[in-house]
Symmetry: C2
Subunit: 512 residues, 2 copies
């Protein structure tokens, strides 16, 4: 057993790989050269458009024991992964690792293939029944959860070698130029798919909208795409993106947003050149709405909005409150439409977004990020991976990446959910280390981590209750009681890998 600096203990080798314990967010320095794709040759006249998915899989050389890559821009509408795995199974190929950017509830139809040994490992975050069943021991399937930046890093460092990537292409030409912003399954951008195009041994574009050459605007260019195959549908457009994302109307959420935006206002960062990221949750969007009002009132022109992009950020761009959007994944239809139209709405690769091991990623340039949490502990560590019953279900996403990069990382969460305390002595799983979290904002008050302690007096003057995080915990425990510890067995079923490749935590099978 080894113990990392967060106090988590685990075996030194798991799932056939040695584990490096997490030490701190920034000091690990990588060595060596980036992984790289095989050199190929495609002469003029060569045909890249194959007649069926099976032909493409055959051409790719996929065989037992290999790894496939997918991206999750089609979200819970995605049928690409399901279609691909069904075909792989029909071809009799087994022992496949899925190393995508995320697996969603729509992929629960893969469960029989997991039971049958077609899929034997998942190297990405999993939302939904699959990971819950892994947590209870109902499925035997090692899961390695990585942040978005961590996935590219792992590919770049050769920790994941994707043998065959299947890139869902909302629009594509027969020579493999992929366009994400057009077509019936338009998803705006395919920022995570760029990593597959950069590092996978073989890249197959799977499209339901084959157009005359050249497809444009180009998200991923032809020189990185080996084969193209057309299928009937990439999935359900109604599920691919949210129609709209909306500010919360919940009074607790609005209270939290008010406190959070006051922290931002007083941080010294909200001035010309301000850069900002929030998720698509209702409370986060309420913070964005407040910040937008502040920027209007104070005539501030921000620099950029980043991450998963929502219509709120598009409006801020179009209103001139932001100069650019860096979009790795479009969250709603307004963002999708903007991606194909606004030159300053820039598609960014996951590498550019969040990879800690390149010449400098966009999260490093963030002034402020607003993040969610399932649990927060008194060391500011955050859990976004496990549910209140201890079961794994959730992708780390950009959480750990942006928290590490931003000058001010704010976690917003209600103090209590389903009668359970959200701020607590210990989180079930450490997804994002507390060293990278600056403020925890609940409706009961704000806890500041070390680097923003000086804001406390002015926040108090502005009516924001600032409390030591232990006091916040005590006040919450006074209502909820001390949470009963979840019982786990010793068996490790999943790893939580930090963006630098070290292990912040492991997921153990839930007891009983």
């Amino acid at each position: 057993m080894i113990k990392n600096s967060l106090g988590r203990e685990f075996p030194d080798t798991l799932f056939g790989r040695p584990l490096r314990p997490y030490r701190d967010p920034f000091s690990f320095i990588p060595e060596g050269r980036q992984a790289a794709r095989p050199i190929r040759r495609v002469n003029p006249g060569g045909n890249k458009l194959l007649g069926s998915l099976r032909e493409a899989i055959e051409a790719s050389g996929l065989r037992d024991g290999m790894t496939i890559g997918t991206h999750h821009h089609l979200r819970n509408g995605d049928q690409v992964l399901n279609t691909v795995v069904a075909e792989i199974a029909a071809m009799g190929i087994r022992d496949i690792t899925i190393a995508g950017s995320s697996v969603h509830p729509v992929h629960e139809v893969l469960i029989p293939y997991i039971r049958d040994g077609v899929i034997t490992r998942i190297e990405c975050g999993v939302n939904g029944a699959i990971s819950r069943m892994v947590s209870t021991g109902e499925l035997d399937l090692p899961i390695i959860t990585r942040s978005h930046g961590g996935r590219v890093r792992a590919m770049m460092c050769g920790d994941i070698k994707v043998d065959v990537a299947f890139i869902g292409a909302p629009t594509c030409d027969a020579y493999g130029n992929i366009c994400a912003s057009r077509g019936p399954s338009a998803c705006g951008v395919v920022g995570y798919g760029h990593s597959d195009a950069d590092f996978a041994d073989c890249v197959i574009a799977v499209t339901d909208n084959l157009v005359a050459y050249p497809a444009q605007p180009i998200s991923i260019p032809q020189n990185k795409v080996d084969y193209v195959v057309a299928i009937d549908s990439l999935g359900d457009p109604a599920q691919i993106v949210s129609t709209t994302t909306r500010v919360t109307t919940d009074p607790i959420g609005l209270q939290i947003a008010k406190y959070a935006s006051t922290v931002i206002e007083l941080s010294g960062l909200l001035k010309n050149g301000f850069s900002f990221q929030t998720g698509a949750g209702g409370t986060s969007l309420a913070v964005a709405a407040n910040v937008r009002d502040l920027m209007r009132r104070q005539a501030i022109t921000g620099s950029f909005g980043a991450g998963g992009i929502t219509g709120y950020f598009v409006e801020m761009l179009e209103e001139g409150l932001l100069e650019a959007l860096f979009d790795v994944q479009s969250f709603d239809l307004k963002a999708v439409a903007s991606a194909g139209r606004n030159p300053a709405h820039i598609e960014m690769s996951a590498d550019m977004y969040a990879n800690p091991f390149n010449a400098g990623c966009v999260v490093n340039n963030l002034d402020c990020v607003v993040l969610g949490a399932r649990e927060i502990d008194v060391d500011f560590n955050v859990n976004v991976n496990t549910e209140s019953d201890g079961r794994l279900s959730g992708n780390t996403g950009g959480h750990a990446d942006t928290a590490a990069g931003a000058k001010l990382s704010i976690v917003v969460a209600p103090s209590i959910r389903a009668r359970l305390p959200i701020v607590r002595d210990e989180v079930t799983t450490i997804s994002t280390p507390g060293a990278t979290i600056d403020a925890v904002v609940t409706e009961r008050g704000v806890a500041l981590n070390s680097r923003y302690q000086a804001l406390a007096p002015e926040l108090a003057r502005r009516g924001v209750p600032v409390k030591p995080i232990h006091q916040l915990r005590d006040e919450i425990y006074a209502i909820t009681g001390i949470p009963r510890p979840i019982e786990f067995t010793d068996r490790v079923v999943g790893l939580i890998e930090y963006r630098d490749g070290s292990i912040t935590d492991v997921i153990r099978q839930v007891a009983g």
Copy 2:
């Protein structure tokens, strides 16, 4: 000595490397993985903007014996390479290889540094006095000339390892996002610089227009740029691009253009979806003008124009005659302006443009290319590298790449220049193999290579004199006389590397 399939003989090892003789345009199949950059880590708060070029060179670790990369989008206005070499020399660093995309007459100020041993090898085409002096033995400097696709290939295969790339950035922010289409030294796109960003060990953006983050539109993103340095000027804007490129008014050129456009008209390729490339020479532009008229009259909508982009192609895009432009290098101010404005004016990397060893480059999709020539032989081999006196002076550029890729590659040239025959028994230097040339068009008639022989009768009916290439040569020799062979010594001073890495020819020192 070894002899290649074109009959050229040379030693099996030169300049410290074994030579692979050229065999044919398409059969060599590469193996192995692509070269790749070192893995780095840049944490938030890190500063990439250094105070001087010297600081940047120091930070890069450049030392004796290393290789630098540059790009030639600033053409004969470029001062980046001169400034960099002067600084390298001032720092006492020696034995440097320049592996840029092209060296121009403006770089002749480097001659003293060559004499002094600061620069000891050039791995790219050289226009101007430097290569002429190498040819006469006045300078001792091995020169390896590659096509644009060949340069990326060489970097991808590890044949060239660029230790430090200096990318002239017309606009740049302090974190290294490079924008080519804006700023006082705007050059539209930096397609060749993309290769450096993909493969160089260290990438330095050199800018004279440092702007607030983020510079946009982004040509090369921050995650690939290690350092940024601001200098007073990248060069002379008046020389960076031609103000305008113009159709020839010379009657011989116009006659050639008429013949060439008739070949295109009758080729069967000029229909909806037609794709096209020409250089910026007056005769090539006259062909483009004729093709434009044909497309208008026949209501043809083409697919794309590619390569170095001129205002003529921008007009065709804006008129709706083409759906897209793939621009690796903007040739005139109209193209520069369009690159920053037209979404369908697409910046392409040299890799996407012309690298034979990827999943399929744009030249593979070309219907027709119109190319120039210094000499053409009776096997349709073309010389673009040496002058009539045998001296090396000229980049292969995209010549060999597009000839190999296009369905119809047409060489346009006057039959006689300065009383010397242009079509002749043997070219001084084989830049582009005849196997990839389909038609030679002079004002005295058109010679068709094997794959378009069937066009002869219809061309003749349209008044285009079609002649066997030997007859064309004879007619020209009847006027000029048989050219006197140029006398060379045995000493090899330069290599002509084909896009696949094999050697089509060598440059020997001119005698006397």
